[in-house]
Amino acid sequence: MKSILPVLTVVVVVVLIWVVAVVPMNVHLSADQAQRNGANIIPDTSIARKEVSGFVLALKNPHLIPLTYVGKRPNLPSPHQVGVEMFDTIFGKKINSKRSLVYHGWVTLAPTLLGFAIGTFLGLMLAVGIVFSRVMDKSIMPWAIVSQTIPILALAPMIIVVLGAVGVHGVLPKSVIAAYLSFFPVVVGMVKGLRSPDQMQLDLLRTYSTSNTQGFWKLRLPSSTPYLFASCKIGISASLVGTIVAELPTGAKAGFGARMLVGDQYGQPILSWAALFSAALTAAALVGIISLIERSTLRKMGIKPA
């Protein structure tokens, strides 16, 4: 709770910088628009204006400044514009309308959650395998690392096409991609976590003639809990990114990614920004939920959270 004030301060500073930045970013466009409406701009040709920086242009034509905040196709929408658009499309539209961000949010969220669950589960399985089998450790771990360097986005359209061809549509193809992206952080984190007990602890268990399985449940798994949560937080945000990215190239009609693309293609940047921010808020909420679970679980286990 004592973090609230510092976080707020940082957020306020960032927003202030944003508000100020709107002017130089948009002033050229506002100048063009205003001139078309008959206003007097210094310098008075678009070409001459291109040579001048945003700051200088705004200082020479202070009457443009308020206009930079209300442009229809701004380079940098003002916080107010984004906020209004978000409010409008979240609360102002029916939930199942194609213009509602809540509808698009769910289209993105469903495969994210499904993919995250699958990816975490498989990641855990593989981590256990790697920790307990030398063969798997030496043969698979290097490839697990390499697998993350494959730009999954390039495979996204192919996976969706392939799965579509065998009759799998909808949530599942995007989940596959989300699962792929959350899988690796969980593998790496859990391998580290399952291997984290120090030698003294392991030796103690050996003096009790503990089997590997018992050792797993009694020592390794509890010790790996902080690592599990850290990996899950990375994993869930990776899943969300994965789903959004999977929506981009396939010309999807719904979901946050689709909205971002639509806004870009139809020259409605405010739409893109609203979708981007909503995606951000969703990511924050998801990570926040995991953090809450983490805090209560670790507290019950007596582990101080990092």
Binding site: K2, S3, L5, P6, V7, L8, V10, V11, V14, M25, R134, V135, D137, K138, S139, I140, M141, P142, W143, I145, V146, Q148, T149, I150, P151, I152, L153, A154, L155, M158, V161, V162, A165, K192, K233, I234, I236, S237, L240, V241, I244, V245, L248, P249, F256, G257, M260, L261, D264, P269, S272, A275, L276, A279, A280, A283, A284, L286, V287, A306
Partner: protein, 280 residues
């Protein structure tokens, strides 16, 4: 049919070979450590080849590895140009800029407990965001050449490195900090002699995560506008032409580049954090 059987046979041989090597006497030797994953990989490749032929999979869905390799050897100059554009100009530049900025901000934020408590949650929040969504915006701002891609990469790697660096700088025990206090050491000596070295394992954790992000960022950003060169550009246009083997060829290059990048950072990590229990 023969191919399918051959595929399974190769799988069996590869697996048994690896079991033998992994549990054998020389299992820690560096040759074996490289050999085992290599055998695993080659086995997988051969299985892929056999199954694609044996099950008569449509090459539009899944080309044969041999076709991909053929394409790669034929198009070396294109592949190199793409690599240069995307990896070197886009990803690497962005990585360095983003990394340096993150470390600078981490040290700045560290000066004040108040700032640290503000920056850490905000940074973690930003690290979780779908930053790739920024790509079209950056293309509009910086043009479609490599600069906008580098900018996307810089923003993408900034937050994970920042969060790890801040966490690392805090990770000293109170005893070590007390020791510094008994020497009357001020902020800067304590920072450089104790907290920065102690933070290195964390920083490298962030740097390793950032290598994969840099690659993905550079390629994805190209989907939103690129001159007629670049891996993302090549992938999307080749896919449009149904030249799947070219797509896979680019993916192979991406994978190799990414692994090399990650490997180099890991090597540097071994040198810098030789003292950490995980390296010994």
């Amino acid at each position: 049919m023969m191919y399918v059987i051959a595929g399974f046979a190769i799988w069996a041989v590869g697996w048994l070979l690896n079991v033998y090597l992994a549990n054998g006497k020389s299992s820690d030797h560096w040759v074996t450590s490289i050999g085992i994953p290599l055998i695993f990989g080659i086995t997988l490749l051969l299985m892929w080849e056999c199954f694609v032929v044996g099950f008569e999979v449509n090459p539009v869905f899944l080309p044969r590895p041999s076709d991909i390799i053929l394409r790669m050897t034929n198009e070396v100059s294109w592949l190199w140009a793409d690599f240069n554009q995307t990896i070197i100009k886009g990803a690497l530049t962005g990585y360095v800029i983003g990394g340096l900025a993150a470390l600078a901000v981490a040290v700045l934020a560290d000066r004040s407990e108040f700032l640290t408590r503000g920056v850490l949650p905000v940074g973690s929040f930003m690290a979780a965001l779908p930053i790739v969504g920024i790509a079209p915006i950056f293309v509009k701002w910086f043009g479609s050449d490599w600069q906008s891609k580098a900018a996307v990469v810089a923003v993408m790697v900034f937050f994970p490195i920042l969060v790890n660096a801040v966490a690392g700088l805090r990770d000293t025990t109170s005893m070590q900090r007390d020791l510094m206090r008994t020497y009357g050491a001020g902020y800067w000596p304590t920072l450089f002699k104790l907290r920065v070295p102690a933070a290195m394992p964390f920083i490298f954790n962030g740097l390793k995560i950032a290598t994969t992000l840099a690659l993905i960022g550079a390629i994805v950003a190209e989907f939103f506008g690129s001159p007629t060169v670049g891996m993302g550009f090549r992938i999307s246009t080749s896919f449009g032409q149904l030249a799947l083997d070219m797509v896979w060829a680019e993916i192979v290059i991406a994978a190799l580049a990414g692994s090399a990048f990650y490997g180099i950072v890991t090597l540097i990590e071994k040198g810098v954090t030789f003292w950490h229990p995980s390296q010994r």
